[in-house]
């Protein structure tokens, strides 16, 4: 059966350099991910208001597109898309009253009953590919690179939606170790990154980013691994603002998990387009002999 993936807006625009390493790595691992045809917005933030069904329509349409392909699952790359699609799918599966109202409203679409499984790529790698298989396939082990996993909220919450235990998740730790790196645990790996405050009020985001990065730095991490583009933005780009407020702040490179997978699988680091990062991870990777020279500081 074909494996479809749902990219969402960010992966197709500012985070192209997370999508390409994902596609190429998955191909290298012997699977092929096909972009879902006619996908639309995932709905962004899942609406928790009980009577706010209009906000469930966008994700339902996407879920219908998936079921039209004949596939019973979809892989997402972005934590926000994952969370929104999975929460809406749960409503369609479990809440008959809401399901009927939504299906009646979408009279041009086929009725949908929640039969698609929504996966985040990390879940797919863990449960369907297997970290032990990845371990065997890697060409360039990360040579003990010390990395702190950072989960944020959308990969873990709420209970029953998240891909791992809310308080002590292991999936990124296990992922890092499968690639030959060393996971540095931090209690702040599920603290809030500041989320959309970054749009109109960066102050709380700056404070959170500093707190999280400092803690991981103190615990000996050389870099941080994320699975959500918004977390990436807040932890990477906002370091510029952290530095302008705190002169003694140490920059810390941030990786999207797909980039590390590509590097470990021996793919060309150019597909990761590290030029797009605010904190250039290449000096760190170079020090571990994971990339050839070439670095740039914005």
């Amino acid at each position: 059966m074909d494996l479809y993936y749902y990219p969402g807006c960010t992966l197709k625009t500012t985070a192209k350099n997370f999508e390409i390493p994902a596609l190429e790595s998955i191909e290298k691992l012997g699977h092929k991910m096909i972009e879902l045809p006619r996908w639309n917005c995932c709905g962004t933030v899942h609406s928790l208001a009980a009577d706010d069904l209009i906000h469930q329509l966008a994700p339902v349409r996407t879920l219908i597109r998936i079921s039209e392909t004949g596939s019973d699952k979809v892989v997402t790359l972005c934590a926000m898309c994952y969370n929104t699609l999975k929460q809406t799918n749960k409503i369609m599966l479990e809440d008959a009253e809401k399901r009927d109202r939504i299906n009646n409203f979408l009279d041009e679409e086929k009725d949908y009953s929640g039969n698609v499984t929504v996966l985040h790529l990390l879940e797919f790698l863990r449960d369907e590919v297997g970290f032990d298989v990845i371990k065997q396939r890697i060409k360039r082990p990360l040579n003990g690179l010390k990395l702190s996993p950072y989960y944020g909220c959308l990969l873990l919450r709420p209970e029953g939606i998240g891909i791992d235990d809310i308080e002590t998740p292991r999936v990124i730790e296990d992922f890092i170790e499968a690639l030959g790196g060393k996971a540095v645990e931090s209690p702040f790996n599920n603290e809030c990154c500041g989320s959309y405050h970054t749009v109109n009020d960066i102050e709380p985001v700056v404070e959170r980013a500093k707190m999280i990065i400092d803690d991981m730095d103190n615990r000996g991490a050389d870099g941080i691994v994320v699975g959500c583009p918004l977390c990436f933005f807040n932890l990477d780009y906002r370091q510029k603002d952290v530095k302008s407020s705190y002169n003694d702040f140490n920059f810390k490179p941030i990786f999207y998990f797909t980039q590390l997978l590509a590097i470990a699988l021996g793919l060309d680091e150019k597909i990761c387009d590290f030029d797009e990062h605010f904190v250039d991870p290449r000096p760190l990777l170079f020090s571990k002999k994971l990339v050839l020279g070439g670095q740039k500081r914005k």
């Binding site: 235990d165 809310i166 308080e167 002590t168 931090s186 209690p187 702040f188 400092d214 803690d215 103190n218 615990r219």
Partner: protein, 651 residues
């Protein structure tokens, strides 16, 4: 024809406001079988009862109907009244014209007609009532108490001191329970051991108490007054008859294991007596950790024992006992801190629970009463106490209040300050619930005299400081100032929710008693029958029912014992005969009634091959009557003929 007297009660205005009592009397009086019909304001009052008794004598009544409130209130009153006038008490019927008529209707005319109908149906029933005699059941004059904590011990002592034999079963090797792990008790701060040991010693030596420690309940059969209990004695691998409790074996044993009694804060040997004041003071071998059991070598304890009490071949054994009553006193445990993710899932050594802190405070504990934190033995200077961990937390704990934590946390903080004068104690709380004699004063004293900082709010996260390995960072909120709080603590004590002991549900199943969703044993009535279970003859006490402190537990234990003694002190049990019976002329022995009976009151007679009723177990529910295909099952004084006539009367 039976001469029937009908007595209609006004119940003040409760009935007479809606029912025309005079009209009722007039109508009922016309019936041929009614020899006497009168009304009165309060039929249940003494003059009301006298009225009935006089009428029975003067009018030679053979049956009495009182039309009044529900039978659950005054049936016994009126039965006794007519019995004292010489009539069989089962020639009484109660017509409910209050709950089922006057209270639920407004239209006086309709209500009056309905009251008449109700009385007429009861007359139809009464006409065919048999005179019955109460059923007498013998009682085994012995009690079983399950659980040897303060609650079980108190109940056992009360019963034994009343002259009845008691079998006390405890699953660990010593009695004393949770209280034996405590340091000092609130609000008077007397040492727990000092007030507990006189009780354990008394239980240990009481001639009427048969103490079976290291034992568990295997099977329970029977019913009120006649329970048959099978008790499993676990092998101690030590002959306790011979053993003098000298302790040489534990001294010589080379294997150290974490001690359950010390809540994993200290060690014990593979052959051990859990604590110095244990009763009985006899060791057991933990075969999972014993070198001999693992490798076949060692036997040091056998070599050192001067009287040859070690017996590696001891097997588990079973004892059967007959008892009349059972008291369940199985106590509580604490919710595992491994379940609370945001506080580290139990992975930080210096985050401990309340019972672990009790062991740190205890003179006989792993630190000999010095407050040293588990990770490195340092004296903690900043200690954070967190209340309501897992309690009052329906999201990922228990919705109920564990009741004892507010008090023991105040005690902990106070004792900590007594031991570490330059230390600082912080308490996070939701509310302070200090109801009890001297309790509020105790908490206020702790706050004011010891300068303990009470912060009203919850703790969101506990983690190791990234710069200082020795510090635990506690994030919380003070909802009174609205400020976020961060404390760098040396140790954190969690007041974990009190939960039922492991195996509570399983034991409840064996005893055929019910539990709440968490596993606490249900009482028969939350207010009026708090020490009984719904199964006759089985009582409950202590934290087996719900979390409670020592004074309340002891009071409940004495209450349960008193209820048990009420049964044991009777020569025989008198039971209502309004139960099922079998017409042996008709019964085919098909066995359907045996299957439908929820009370195990039915069985097939071995030789006669016919159904029979265990009169002590039958609750008179009527399931067998409706299930019997050949009409051989009868309900005494509720025969099919009676019920059909009652229906006919109103249709």
């Amino acid at each position: 024809m039976k001469r029937i007297g009908v007595f209609v009660c006004h119940c003040g205005l409760n009935i007479s406001d809606t029912v025309d009592v005079k009209k009722v009397i007039e109508e009922i009086g016309k019936l041929p079988e009614v020899a006497h019909a009168v009304d009165y304001t309060y039929m249940c009052s003494d003059p009301g009862q006298e009225m009935i008794k006089n009428a029975i004598t003067k009018k030679k009544l053979e049956g009495v109907i009182v039309a009044a409130c529900t039978h659950t209130l005054h049936e016994t009153t009126f039965r006794n009244a007519i019995a004292s006038a010489g009539l069989n008490q089962y020639q009484f019927e109660n017509a409910n014209i209050r709950e089922q008529c006057s209270w639920v209707h407004k239209d006086k005319k309709v209500a009056t007609e309905k009251a008449i109908e109700i009385i007429k149906t009861m007359i139809e029933k009464l006409k065919l009532n048999q005179s019955l005699a109460a059923i007498n059941i013998p009682i085994t004059k012995k009690a079983l108490v399950i659980g040897g904590g303060i609650s079980g011990m108190q109940a056992a002592l009360d019963i034994a001191n009343s002259g009845f034999e008691v079998i006390l079963v405890e699953k660990t090797s010593s009695i004393g329970g949770r209280m034996s792990q405590l340091s000092e008790t609130f609000p008077t701060l007397d040492c727990a051991s000092c007030i507990l040991t006189p009780k354990t010693v008394e239980v240990g030596h009481h001639p009427k108490i048969k103490l079976l420690t290291f034992s568990e309940i295997e099977e329970v059969e029977g019913y009120l007054g006649n329970f048959k209990v099978k008790i499993r004695r676990k092998p101690a691998f030590v002959d306790w008859e011979k053993c003098s409790g000298c302790g040489l074996c534990s001294e010589k044993c080379p294997t150290n294991v974490t001690s359950e009694f010390e809540r994993d804060m200290g060690t014990r040997k593979a052959i051990y007596i859990p604590f110095p004041q244990a009763v009985p003071k006899k060791p057991v071998i933990d075969s999972k950790n014993c070198i001999y059991f693992k490798t076949g070598k060692c036997k040091l304890c056998e070599k050192i024992c001067p009287i040859g009490a070690i017996d590696y071949n001891q097997k588990e054994s079973f004892i059967e006992e007959n008892v009349g009553v059972i008291i369940v006193a199985i106590g509580y445990d604490l919710l595992s801190k491994e379940l609370i993710g945001e506080y580290g899932y139990g992975k930080y050594k210096d985050v401990i629970d309340g019972l672990q802190f009790e062991r740190l405070l205890s003179a006989s504990g792993p630190t000999a009463g010095k407050i040293k934190r588990p990770s490195d033995g340092k004296i903690p200077k900043d200690v954070v106490f967190v209340q309501c961990v897992g309690s009052r937390d329906p999201e990922h704990g228990m919705p109920y209040c564990s009741k004892i934590c507010c008090m023991y946390t105040a005690k902990h903080a106070l004792l900590y300050k007594h031991a570490v004068h330059d230390g600082q104690a912080y308490v996070f709380y939701i509310d302070i619930r200090s109801g009890g004699k001297g309790y509020e004063e105790f908490v206020q004293k702790a706050i004011e005299d010891e300068k303990i900082i009470y912060l009203r709010g919850k703790v969101s996260r506990i983690f190791k400081d990234s710069r200082d390995e020795g510090k635990l960072v506690v994030w919380g909120v003070d909802t009174l100032t609205g400020k976020k709080i961060e404390i760098a603590a040396d140790m954190v004590v969690l007041a974990m929710a009190a939960v039922p002991n492991e195996g509570a549900k399983e034991l409840a199943k064996k005893l055929k008693i019910s539990t709440d969703p968490y596993g606490f044993i249900n009482e028969a009535h939350p207010k009026l029958r708090p020490v009984e279970t719904l199964t006759a003859g089985i009582f409950l006490t202590g934290c087996a029912q719900a979390p409670k402190d020592i004074p309340e537990t002891v009071a409940q234990a004495s209450g349960a014992a008193a209820r048990a003694i009420t049964i044991l002190s009777k020569p025989e049990l008198e039971m209502d005969p309004l139960i099922a019976a079998v017409d042996e002329e008709i019964c085919t022995g098909c066995g359907i009634c045996v299957e439908v009976c929820a009370y195990d009151a039915r069985k097939l007679h071995d030789i006669k091959k016919m159904a029979e009723v265990n009169e002590a177990l039958c609750a008179g529910c009527g399931a067998c009557i409706s299930a019997c295909p050949s009409n051989a099952s009868i309900h005494k004084n509720y025969t099919k003929e009676q019920i059909l006539r009652m229906i006919e009367e109103i249709t």
